[in-house]
C-alpha cells in the first residue's frame, strides 16, 4: 500500500478555518479588539464587520434603527451588537444540522 502515501500531501496548502470568537470594530471599520486566532485573515474579519456596520447604518437611514443582529448561514452564525457607531461581532461555526461547533 505504499502507493497510498500519495494521498497525504507533503506541503499542505492553506484552507481557512472559520473560528469561534469575537471582535470589536470601531465606526471607521478598524478592528480594535479580537479574540479570533491569527490564522483567520484580518481582511475576512473586516469584511464581516463592515457588512454589519453598513447594515446598522442603512437600517437607521430607513427609519428602522437596529441594535442587534443575528445572521444564520448553514455553516456559520454571526451575531452583532451596535456599539457607538461601531460593532461587536460574534462568530459561531455551525456543524451539520445547524449544531454549534467550535
Amino acid at each position: 500500500m505504499g502507493l497510498l502515501s500519495f494521498f497525504t500531501k507533503s506541503i499542505p496548502a492553506e484552507l481557512v478555518r472559520l473560528p469561534q470568537g469575537s471582535f470589536t470594530m470601531d465606526r471607521d471599520g478598524r478592528i480594535i479588539v479580537s479574540t479570533l486566532p491569527q490564522s483567520f485573515p484580518a481582511a475576512r474579519a473586516r469584511e464581516i464587520g463592515q457588512t454589519f456596520l453598513a447594515l446598522f447604518r442603512s437600517s437607521q437611514a430607513a427609519n428602522l434603527p437596529l441594535a442587534e443582529l443575528v445572521v444564520d448561514f448553514p455553516a456559520l452564525r454571526l451575531k452583532a451588537r451596535e456599539l457607538g457607531g461601531g460593532a461587536i461581532v460574534f462568530l459561531s461555526p455551525q456543524g451539520l444540522g445547524g449544531k454549534p461547533r467550535t
Binding site: 484552507l15 442603512s58 437600517s59 442587534e68 444564520d72 448553514p74 455553516a75 461555526p93
Partner: protein, 360 residues
Amino acid sequence: MSRQPKLLLLDDEPEALELYRRFLSRLPSQPEIHTATSGARAIRLLESEPFNLLISDLKMPKMDGLQVLTIVKRRFPHLRTAVMTALADEQFRARAYAIGIDLFLEKPGTSHEITFFLDCIEGLLGREHEAGFRGVQSKTLVDLIQLECLSQSSSTLKIVHGPAEARIWIQNGEIIDAAAGDLTGEAAFRKILSWKFGHFEVLPAEPARPRTIQGSYQGLLLETAHALDEAHALEDPHANQAELPPEPRVAGSPLSEIARMNGVEFVIAASSREKPKCKVWGVENPDQMAEWMRETLHRFRSLGESLEVGQLNRIEGAGTQCQVVLAAFGEDELCVGFQRNLARDVLRKTMKNIFAKWAS
C-alpha cells in the same frame, strides 16, 4: 449518444490525480476521466464540455476547494460534486455540504476504504444515469408524481418546501396517503401541490402505511389542478385584463394573512425577478424599505459566498422600535417586522408559520 459518464478530477498534485484515475478507471460504468491541477483549469474544462461529476480536493493553493465548489455550484447547479480530502474536519464537511455538494469523502487509506470510495463514486454516477431526476427545477410536483405513478412505483416522496416538510406515499403506482403539517390525506395532497418550488427525495416505500386516499391518481391530480386554478383565479381576478394598471402594493390574501399573525407589525415581499414590484403591508415608506431589504439580503448573500458557508438562511434584527426578520426563498424576498417586546421564541414560532404560508 454515449452513456459513458464524464468525470473531472481536481487536485493540485499530478501524482495523486494519476492514482485516482487508475482507481476510477476500474469502475463498472467506465467513466471518461479528465483531470485538472487547479481550480481555474477545472472551471475552464467545465465551461468547455458537459461533465457528470466533479471530484475536488479541498487543500489547494491559490483557489481552494471550497472556493472552486462555490463557483461551480453557482455556474453549473446541476453538476454533481464530491469532495475527497485528507482533512477529517467536521467544519469543512459542514461547509462543503452547505455549499451544496453531493458527497464528502475522506481520502482512502486502506484497500477497504478504496473499495468504499469507488462504490460511493459509482453510486453517484449511477444516480445520475438511472434516476434522471437531477435538474428538475422546470418540472412541477405533478410531473414527478405522474412519473412515479406511471412507472407503477412504490415509494415515499419526501418534499421539502422552505421550512415545511411533507410526504406522499405511493403504492404500486397509486397515491395512498399524504401528510403536510397537520393535514393528512387529500387535504394534505392539495396543500403539497399548491407549492411552487422545493426539493424532493424518493424514499423507500412503506407498504404498511394505511390507505386514506381512495381515488385514482389521475382523478386526484385533475381535481387538485382544478381547485388550484379556481383559487388562483379568485386571488387574481384581473389576470386576463390586459390594460389594467399594475397594483403591486395590495393588502391582498397572503400578506394580509401574514399580517394577522401574532405580533406582526409590517410585511414586505418582493421578487428579485421583478425589481420595481413589491407587496407591502403596514409600512409607511415602502420604496425605501423594499430597497433596504434587497440591499441587505444582497450584502449578506455575498458575504456568505465569500466566507463559503452556504446560502443565507435568515437575518434577525432587534431595535428600539421593532424586531425584524429578513429571508429569501429562491427569487422571493421577505421582510417581516414584529412588535419590539415580542418574546424571541414566539417570534421564531410565528416566523416558521410565516415561512410556510409564504412559501405556499
